[in-house]
Symmetry: C2
Subunit: 179 residues, 2 copies
């Protein structure tokens, strides 16, 4: 951030009075521009025991596999966001089920929230952000080509719970991997 979105003047990083963190503050109008984590919502869509995954057509992690997920939009609920992302990325209609995972992705300034979901019909296809979309048996999930650690975490918990006839909520915090 270099300029104030309110008045167009330069911003600089200072700790405002009464605050304890550096913020971008406008040098002219003094507006404080806060930056906060964003919410990524997604789901694990299941159809007759198989899981629907998308191969990413965009960076980051182009060419790797993920569950349908993306940024929550203003004005929508978490469940509605997960449903919308599934339709946009996989052209698939799902019924959103129970909460599967809440994952702090501290290094990306994101919170990932994943739901269980039921694919209503075996109809799907690649949205503009996907190269391909495919149903996988649990035994054939491409674990070595997963796009994100949060997605791998959620998928593994999903399958373990399913095998145990459970539907737990799994909370996890991810930190940067050491080099």
């Amino acid at each position: 951030m270099k300029y104030c979105s309110s008045c167009g003047a330069r911003v600089s990083q200072v700790i405002p009075a009464g605050d304890n963190r550096p913020r971008y503050v406008c040098e002219r109008c003094a507006t404080v521009h806060y930056e906060n984590p964003r919410v990524v919502v997604g789901c694990v869509p299941e159809y007759q025991g198989q899981i629907l995954l998308c191969k990413r057509a965009i960076e980051p992690r182009l060419g790797f596999w993920t569950v349908p997920a993306g940024f929550l939009e203003n004005g929508e609920t978490l469940a509605d966001g997960a449903k919308r992302e599934c339709f946009e990325e996989a052209n698939a209609h799902v019924e959103i089920g129970s909460l599967l995972a809440i994952i702090d992705v501290t290094y990306a300034q994101q919170v990932h929230i994943l739901y269980r979901a039921r694919l209503l019909t075996p109809e799907y296809g690649a949205g503009t952000e996907s190269l391909e979309v495919q149903l996988f048996d649990a035994a054939h999930i491409p674990w070595h080509d997963m796009a994100f650690r949060s997605v791998e975490f959620g998928l593994r918990r999903y399958l373990a719970d399913r095998a145990a006839l459970r539907e737990d909520l799994h909370c996890e915090s991810l930190y940067p991997l050491s080099a």
Copy 2:
């Protein structure tokens, strides 16, 4: 938003190619400035059966009661954010417990995430954003002076669960009240 935070030129609201919502886009450098919901984290701190509440010293809802809560910051986990807010608003050290509630506050572009918490010692006081901080018996909670519907929702579920010896997670979506 009137100006581009990257280059300082004017922005206008347009639907970018491949998108389906109006976004603020820079008229000079074409940067798209997305706006997404923010996460509010908080907790219900309990000490020997009593609940710690804060009377707000700032708008919105100045003078009304709330649980300690505030915006999640970049780089912190949800639980750490809830703990930090409790210290900042109530000068109180808590141990964060189980997830209590996840509330879509669609009209405020927020997601509220509340935890159960245990006040470690009966030491607390008003932080800069609080007029006063007080421990309440369940029977004396100021329901008619609650700051936010999400807080009332969380508190009521907290007390009902406690009476039933449960610790459930409660998910809710709040919409604007009709006039």
